[in-house]
Symmetry: C2
Subunit: 465 residues, 2 copies
């Protein structure tokens, strides 16, 4: 139930912005994909442009009403769901879905924050351009959320994280101030880099409303190779060799644990075994390039086999084979979900330390448990997930989760790594940030937060515990 003050506030806003600008929250607005958080909200506000966002924030700031920005609601750390505290409003980007401009010569696209990632990728592709951000949720997630969380994905190795794919933006601060100027420049040294400050701040400093995205030439050919490797150590040496030999054309380098394939079999998820033998470790490498690419890959892989880094290899020859290889990688998270993890981690360490980290982590975890350790090895980003013994339920072990998480995160810290490589902090990891974060960094973050959002209305409870 809304109290009188809240009702009055919302009525006033509705009068100012128009009837369609406001709707009642629906269940889909208040829960998130993993079902870990159920939120609450007084209303969902639906601005149609940056100026309306500015009006809304100025009003919320004056009335000290908390604001939860929402794009596609696909985030995995509860950044988009307020759990408790004062009844906030959701500011949804659902009506800001325009692709304003595509420039082939500038290699840029100007988009509003509600635009669905898949629509952006399709629009780029129509112009023979590539927008490299590729996520499992691309049909649902919206670019504003990708930017707010600096989303990662499989192409980071070649094209960078979301922040590297944004040349300029327009954002609104808590008091309604509009910043950014929506620049589409490759070089501009006139400002503090508030663009990168907004990106990845998870809606706690402001709302990104529009952005200029970087496009790339669409590679003419794209080939995948599934490579059996003796161990993560050889996978690392292979990464170095392939980067040298294939010169910037390697777009993905994914480590795959045999456990993942066993999970697919166990949960009867269809896939095509890449090899006749069940190798314990594999790498799925993807490359994009011109006519010489296939030859270059074959030569590079021959060299790798000669050096003992690769013991077996399948190179995709057709689009169908390319998809079949990727299907293995992409269905593993589904199998994980069905098996049910005791604990899962989105961590990173310096690339060169990945093999040593895996060795050390394996020693920490109880031998009864099954481990599926896979992910974006090319970025040092592993999903290190722990599962119960076969046939057993994760529920029987969930009480061990804090202990397992703690020992993994301690190890990550020891290795100079990150306890949240690509998913962000949200509400799920706010306490971890307080514990593992660099003290000076946290102090400075707090000062920046207080300077730009003195009333603390922006996504309260996220990032800061």
């Amino acid at each position: 139930m809304l109290n009188d003050a809240t009702s009055e506030f919302l009525n006033k806003l509705e009068n100012q912005l128009g009837k369609n600008c406001l709707r009642a929250p629906e269940p889909r607005d208040l829960s998130e994909p993993r079902g870990m958080y159920t939120g609450q909200a007084a209303a969902v506000l639906r601005p149609t442009d940056t100026h309306q966002v500015s009006d809304i924030l100025a009003a919320c700031n004056a009335a000290r009403v908390g604001v939860v920005p929402m794009a596609g609601n696909t985030g995995l750390t509860g950044g988009q769901t307020l759990q408790d505290g004062a009844l906030p409003v959701i500011i949804s980007m659902e009506r800001m879905t325009n692709i304003r401009e595509i420039s082939v010569e500038n290699n840029t696209m100007t988009v509003e924050s509600g635009t669905i990632l898949a629509d952006i990728r399709a629009a780029a592709s129509n112009e023979n351009r590539l927008f490299p951000l590729a996520l499992a949720s691309e049909g649902t997630c919206r670019i504003g959320g990708n930017l707010a969380t600096n989303a990662g994905g499989v192409n980071v190795l070649r094209y960078g994280n979301t922040r590297d794919l944004c040349l300029g933006l327009e954002a609104v601060l808590a008091d309604g101030t509009i910043i950014g100027g929506l620049k589409s420049l490759r070089k501009d040294n006139t400002d503090y880099d508030l663009r990168h400050l907004m990106i990845g701040s998870e809606g706690t400093l402001g709302i990104i409303t529009t952005s200029v995205l970087r496009l790339y030439p669409q590679p003419k050919h794209q080939f995948a190779a599934m490579l059996a490797v003796p161990s993560p150590k050889e996978a690392l040496a292979l990464l170095t060799m392939m980067s040298d030999q294939l010169e910037g054309r390697v777009s993905a380098f994914e480590l795959i644990d045999r456990t993942g394939l066993d999970f697919l079999i166990e949960k009867v998820i269809p896939f095509k075994e890449p090899f006749l033998r069940a190798y314990p470790w594999m790498v799925l490498m993807d490359c994009g390039g011109g006519d010489g690419l296939q030859d270059a890959m074959e030569q590079a892989l021959a060299k790798a086999m000669e050096a003992g880094l690769v013991v077996d290899a399948v190179l995709s020859q057709t689009l169908g084979q390319h998809q079949a290889l990727w299907q293995i990688r992409e269905t593993i998270p589904e199998a994980n979900k069905k098996i049910g993890p005791i604990s899962s981690h989105d961590i990173s360490v310096p690339i060169a330390r990945v093999p040593a980290f895996i060795d050390a982590a394996h020693k920490l975890v109880d031998r009864r448990f099954r481990i599926n350790c896979f992910g974006h090895m090319g970025d040092g980003n592993l999903h290190y997930n722990v599962f119960p013994p076969k046939g057993d339920s994760p529920k029987n072990y969930l009480h061990l989760q804090p202990e397992i998480n703690g020992s993994i995160y301690d190890l990550v810290a020891e290795f100079g790594g990150s306890f949240s490589a690509e998913h962000g902090i949200g509400r799920l990891k706010a306490a971890d940030l307080a514990h593992y974060g660099d003290k000076g960094q946290l102090l400075a973050m707090r000062k920046v937060k207080d300077a730009l959002d003195p009333n603390g209305i922006m996504n309260p409870g996220a990032v800061f515990a």
Copy 2:
């Protein structure tokens, strides 16, 4: 002359940090390359590590002593030279010159901020790695200054600006707080991005003391092509075609104005004419890659000639030819200096708008004057420089400088561009920033500055007018 309070402050610091930590300012500390500013300083402080920087800043902050950070003192906008106000201290990075670690497998190098850029490039090269930042001043400039100003250069097209070449850093804020954690991760979503906030802030928010730099595989071959183009319009179409055809292997795409070559002749600076005819516009393209590169360049250029984008071409076959082509580009600034500009600009516009911008700018400038418009077209970054009629002295026209600058900057603003693409703001362009900067952005910058440096001790007078 130092007053008693300053002397006492410095004595105390010297006692705390050791005798070698302090020296008297020398003329080279107080002037900058263009001789436009002459500074003053009570002392030059020479910390040897991040903790000493922290001690110094904490002391300066408590005593409200202004601080000018200095690395190689090669900046072109007076960011490293305090002109007036209270007598500040210079914090020089001259004793922090260690390369702490090079990791081939991680593709990173950890360096202290006083390390000379050329030393970094050489150390990378020794490991068959490339650190792509390439500047005319590389033998003198230090990486801390490159980071503080987000230096650009000729390889931005392929590898990005300095900010894109830094994975992590350690920096000290005004009150002595150490931030950054010196991470060497490709993915880390646990923080506000204070790294990018420090980079490019020109020492007004803190001092970067150490950084983790990104290395790349050293391309096996590097070829340059000098290409005569009908006009900047065809140069733009050529850039798009080459980016498509050569897939990420184009590292530089420089527009060259015939005027630049005429200046070389006029000032008797030796160079080899690339063509038999004097074409009005040329492009110097540089590509790095593996064995197929030369064939790929030849094929791509044949296509460009067929399309009428290139009317004449010279492709380097030897290292000597490669150097001869680059010598033309690299000696043009020297010729400019000898001719003497009335006004020079370091500007950028969206790449797609470069030809229209040049047309419009040419119409603004008095026909008596000679224009040399050249630069990093691949980044939309032009050096648009105006010179007196042949035989005349720039001194006779310097009174027109403010008017010319104003009309060029107005035009840049109209084109959505930047009035300082790669050199930064410093003291030279602080008033321009106040005039041309986005109002909301400036407001937010001021808030961030006040939050992190409430006493305003960090590089006072730079960036903010």
